[in-house]
């Protein structure tokens, strides 16, 4: 499986602000690579550099074997881009946007475009400025997928969408990846990303603080759900590896970072009436990583 996106020590500095620093990562062909991070963590700047829109201050990036600072940007013939920002030309209708795409991308697939327009039920004659946010995102996906991309770069593409459209879009992303398209997506939709991503990079203050596969990421932490007849023993609260304990009635959720097996054994020794080991979700993991990186106040993050 070849490496489609490769960055080495990539960085971007705006005056004194280092928006992205020393990002080294690879994305394999046909995989879905998620980028998560707090607002202002450098996700969009990173994607902007992959598209050649922003000039890196340091390091280098290659997409589909081409340097992103290639003057003519011909690699973008094979790159689809979707953003949650105002993407379309105001004066254009849906039909005009499609006509522009057809003339711009040499690999444009009219049949695929018509199929996608029909499946999304997008009205061809409507001005894009009158489309709802969901319809705009759908149209952006129609454009991005009709150019027969080898790479899809998605920047908050699912933000602000209702659950139905979001699910539809996520399914589409999975289908594309299954057909060999490499997807790099920055998102705050951690639940959605958890379902579809193969690998994920956590950004904080421009740096990648954790880069791992989805499965490995989930193994970073465990949740042990237990019920004790006389309340949670003190030994468990202070056991090594225990991050914190959440209490919900008689049910205790013990969040464990390391040595989960030892903590589980300790629980068993205290005779729980109910005990189950669960995976933590991405949101939990994300909050934990941000906490470790010193983002925001502890009581706010762990509330």
């Amino acid at each position: 499986m070849s490496e489609i996106v490769v960055t080495e020590g990539l960085g971007k500095q705006y005056g004194r602000v280092r928006a992205v620093q020393d990002v080294t990562l690879t994305v394999s062909e046909g995989s879905i690579f998620g980028i998560v991070g707090t607002n202002g963590a450098g996700k969009s700047t990173f994607l902007s550099m992959l598209l050649g829109l922003t000039r890196p201050s340091e390091g280098r990036a290659r997409v589909l074997g081409s340097d992103v600072m290639d003057r003519f940007g011909t690699y973008r013939e094979r790159v689809g881009f979707v953003t949650d920002q105002d993407y379309f030309f105001r004066q254009f209708s849906v039909r005009d946007m499609i006509a522009w795409g057809r003339r711009t991308w040499p690999r444009w697939d009219d049949v695929r475009c018509r199929q996608l327009l029909a499946s999304f039920e997008l009205p061809a004659n409507r001005p894009v400025r009158s489309l709802s946010k969901g319809m705009r995102v759908q149209l952006a996906f129609v454009s991005a997928l009709s150019l027969r991309p080898e790479v899809l770069i998605l920047d908050e593409a699912t933000s602000g969408l209702d659950a139905v459209v979001k699910r539809q879009i996520l399914q589409l992303i999975v289908q594309e990846a299954a057909s060999g398209v490499t997807v790099v997506m920055a998102t705050h939709d951690l639940a959605g990303l958890e379902r579809i991503a193969d690998r994920v990079a956590f950004f904080h203050e421009g740096r990648v603080v954790l880069q791992t596969s989805t499965e490995e990421a989930k193994r970073e932490m465990r949740r042990i759900q237990v019920v004790f007849p006389g309340g949670l023993p003190d030994a468990l609260r202070t056991a090594p590896g225990v991050l914190r304990v959440e209490e919900s009635g008689s049910v205790y959720n013990v969040i464990v970072e390391t040595e989960a097996d030892k903590v589980a054994e300790l629980c068993r020794q205290h005779g729980p009436v109910y005990m189950e080991e669960l995976e933590v979700d991405f949101e939990e993991l994300f909050v934990h990583i941000m906490h470790k990186e010193g983002y925001a106040r502890e009581e706010f993050l762990l509330a």
Binding site: S44, D96, R103
Partner: protein, 396 residues
């Protein structure tokens, strides 16, 4: 692999986005002449020739060429297309900066150079095309000199060279104005600011030369009466005699200035210097195009997805645009007017106080203060409107 010289997608997009601006350009250039011609034709055909007065009793073609094209002072054909050229230069970029369009375009397989090229060539082609009918009409009239049309003889006031001269001068000026607004729009990034900047650059030479000449002249009352001790008064020839460069520069600057160009044309007097307007305007336009390419190549899609070619340029340019006219007006108007007023107050006796400079300073400060207030109010209004729109979009 190289991208094509004129990418089809970009040409389609620019035409689609700017076609109404091009129509506006066409209207700005030809609305009055066309209306005038139709009205004239109507008057001639219905036999009410006498209503038009002496010298205007020929066919509409002759009237059109002589009165509207060559002597435009009464019809505004000279100024309207220049305004349209300013708008076009600025509009080509402002269309991209609404929303995130520049990001959309640059995420497609086109180079930055191709984007600048397509836009500039579209503007240039528009200018060359829109003025063609005028030259054709002049040429037609020159061809028909001495012929009898509807019982009237077409005069020989128009000759072939005039058509070429009219076309080249008109195109040369509009091209230069368009290119100035074009490069300003890349740097400034705002529609109104780029127009102001281009206008400032166009009229600044005239203002500066006039100011220098006026300030140093012995006839300037405030020099003779109030600042004469440290500064000798000069006559215009004295100033020009200081350096041959100044006089030459002044002549060129005056000739290449829209106001003097307009004034010269309105008297149907065209010195040979006007023949250089197209070559000079063309060379300057091409240089401005190269400057646009260099500037845009160094533009980045910066933080918050806004494009800043020159950071803080909008605000600083506002100050400059506001301060310079205030400075010039303050000197040219207030000093002489207030001085005259004070002289009359003090019974024509020289007054040795700092009043003129004080008044000028107050005028200067007041103008800037008013501008800042207006600018702040405008920004607040635009932001609140944007917030309302976003709210409506979010609800939708």
């Amino acid at each position: 692999m190289k991208s094509s010289f004129l990418p089809r997608g970009l040409v389609y997009k620019e035409w689609h986005q700017q076609r109404w601006m091009i129509v506006l350009f066409l209207i700005a250039t030809w609305l009055l002449p066309v209306f005038g011609s139709i009205a004239q034709e109507f008057v001639v055909l219905t036999g009410h020739v006498s209503y038009l007065g002496p010298g205007l009793s020929e066919g509409s073609l002759v009237w059109f060429s002589q009165t509207v094209l060559v002597n435009p002072s009464g019809y505004g054909i000279g100024l309207a297309p220049w305004g349209a050229a300013l708008l076009l230069g600025a509009a080509l970029w402002s269309a991209e900066r609404r929303g995130n369009n520049l990001e959309t375009v640059l995420a497609s397989p086109v180079s930055k150079a191709a984007l600048v090229r397509v836009k500039w060539l579209l503007g240039t082609a528009t200018i060359f095309a829109v003025n063609l009918p005028g030259a054709l009409l002049l040429w037609l009239e020159a061809r028909g000199a001495g012929l009898d049309v509807n019982g009237m003889t077409v005069s020989a006031d128009v000759w072939l060279g005039l058509a070429a001269r009219w076309y080249s001068t008109q195109v040369g000026m509009e091209w230069l104005i368009f290119s100035l607004a074009f490069v300003a729009a890349i740097g400034v990034g705002r529609y109104v600011m780029s127009i102001l900047w281009a206008a400032l650059v166009l009229f600044m030479p005239l203002g500066l030369t006039a100011a220098v000449t006026y300030l140093m002249q012995e006839s300037a009352p405030w020099i003779t009466h109030y600042m004469g001790k440290g500064m000798a008064g000069y006559a215009t020839p004295d100033i020009q005699a200081l350096s041959p460069v100044y006089g030459t520069l002044q002549n060129w600057v005056m000739t290449l200035n829209p106001e003097s160009y307009y004034g010269t044309f309105s008297y149907f007097y065209m010195p040979q210097m006007l023949d250089f307007v197209l070559p000079v305007g063309g060379v300057l336009s091409i240089l401005l195009y190269v400057a646009s390419l260099v500037l845009f190549e160094h533009c980045e899609m910066e933080r918050f997805r806004r494009v800043f070619c020159l950071r803080g340029f909008a605000m600083s340019s506002l100050m400059i645009v506001g301060v310079v006219p205030a400075w010039m007006l303050g000197i040219l108007q207030m000093s002489s007017d207030v001085t005259a007023h004070l002289q009359s107050m003090f019974d024509h006796q020289p007054w040795h106080g700092p009043a003129p400079m004080l008044v000028f300073t107050l005028y200067f400060a007041g103008t800037v203060a008013v501008e800042v207030l207006l600018w702040t109010a405008l920004r607040r209004f635009l932001r609140s409107r944007q917030a309302r729109r976003e709210h409506v979009m979010a609800v939708a």
